[in-house]
């Protein structure tokens, strides 16, 4: 996906509300895709994206004119996702402590993934993705779904290049092994 015209964030930075609206319209679907894949839950994903845009608007004075907008936006969004995931984890621990079945509690809003490869495959992918540690999931999504360079991912996550390559490799290895098992089990 192409990036937005660089003049638009600069206009938004100067207080042009129409330019900010253009940014939200342009990036909302892509941000929601990343947040859905990270959070595994529609409601939390929408909250993360909305919070991220509020913070972008609030922090525009810190955006450097010579910087690219995409990594800056995704850094804020990834931070929000991490924060909300931490909150969700604490909430889950409380539920588990109360001996309520986690599967029932967390299955409220399954993500709808279009069915180019069939619902089963998309669902299996989502389930395996959720088992990855958040930092591996984040690095994998930024690299292979958002198609960002390792340099951009380093800006977004604050992690070093070699650590990021390792996270992506481990995520790929886990996905390959578990999804191959799933396909064997399903006889495909």
């Amino acid at each position: 996906m192409t990036e937005i015209d660089p003049s638009v964030p600069l206009r938004a930075q100067r207080g042009d509300e129409q330019a900010f609206l253009e940014i939200v319209e342009f990036y909302y679907p892509r941000c929601l895709r990343f947040a859905r894949n990270m959070m595994g839950n529609e409601q939390d994903a929408e909250e993360a994206v909305q919070d991220a845009f509020v913070r972008v608007h609030d922090s525009f004075h810190r955006f450097r004119e010579d910087a690219r907008f995409d990594p800056w936006l995704f850094r804020i969004l990834a931070n929000r996702c991490r924060t909300l995931l931490g909150r969700a984890k604490r909430h889950r621990e409380l539920i588990e402590y109360g001996e309520v079945q986690l599967a029932i509690a967390s299955a409220a809003s399954p993500i709808e993934i279009e069915e180019e490869f069939g619902a089963d495959w998309a669902e299996e992918v989502r389930l395996v993705l959720e088992t990855l540690p958040p930092e591996q999931r984040e690095a994998f999504l930024l690299r292979h779904v958002e198609d960002l360079s390792y340099e951009d991912i380093a800006v977004i996550t604050g992690a070093g290049l070699s650590a990021l390559r390792m996270r992506v490799k481990r995520a790929c290895d886990t996905l390959r092994i578990r999804l191959t098992e799933v396909e064997k089990r399903n006889g495909s």
Partner: protein
């Protein structure tokens, strides 16, 4: 060639890369949240103006505060020792960033309207594609149908507005085309109708 991206990873990436469709309502909600957040944060200029409107404000007190801030600034940079003469300035400006004019209200400044409960901006979104005008009416604006007109997102998108409501329970409705009162489908329905029409309940918590 990306060696990580074999056939399995390619299929995984494609399954996860489906972009959600554009959602005008979601964009509208985001813009309303941004506006509400912006309205909630007073600017530094507003804080200064509020402070200056306090009865306790005078040119002399402002000068004294500026002088005290300067003394504290020097003190924090090590220009003075722990002289007893600085104790009063230090205790007066406790909680203030050192060396900076005290714009953010702290212990030294009279709390601005501390006895009043501040109104909170609340974004509202209403979907009425065929409406020509929509106005928010409620107890927070005296049911005045001129105070809070909603703005349409695009040519056929949802209507949005931000209202200011003090913490507590409020009853409100949307007045469509100046004639029809409609309850907010996103909010609980009000049972205690005191104006003869559909209405909704808004619960506002303190910021």
């Amino acid at each position: 060639m990306d060696l990580e991206r074999d056939e399995t990873i390619e299929r995984v990436a494609q399954a996860l890369a489906v972009v959600p469709p554009r959602d005008a309502q979601a964009v509208s909600r985001v813009m309303a949240a941004v506006r509400a957040h912006k309205a909630q944060r007073p600017s530094r200029l507003t804080l200064v103006m509020e402070w200056m409107r306090q009865p306790a404000f005078s040119v002399a007190s402002a000068g004294a505060l500026a002088a005290a801030a300067l003394v504290l600034g020097f003190f924090s940079r090590g220009a003075f020792g722990n002289a007893g003469s600085d104790q009063s300035a230090r205790s007066t400006l406790e909680g203030q960033p050192t060396g900076e004019f005290p714009i953010v209200t702290g212990g030294v400044l009279p709390a601005s309207n501390s006895h009043e409960v501040r109104a909170v901006p609340v974004p509202l979104v209403f979907d009425a594609r065929n409406a020509k005008s929509v106005v928010v009416v409620g107890d927070f604006n005296g049911w005045d149908d001129t105070k809070t007109p909603m703005v349409r997102y695009g040519t056929d998108g949802p209507w949005t507005a931000t209202v200011l409501a003090k913490p507590g329970r409020h009853v409100y409705a949307f007045l469509v085309d100046g004639t029809t009162l409609v309850a907010d489908p996103r909010a609980p329905r009000a049972k205690d109708l005191d104006f003869g029409g559909d209405a909704s309940v808004l619960m506002v918590t303190p910021p």
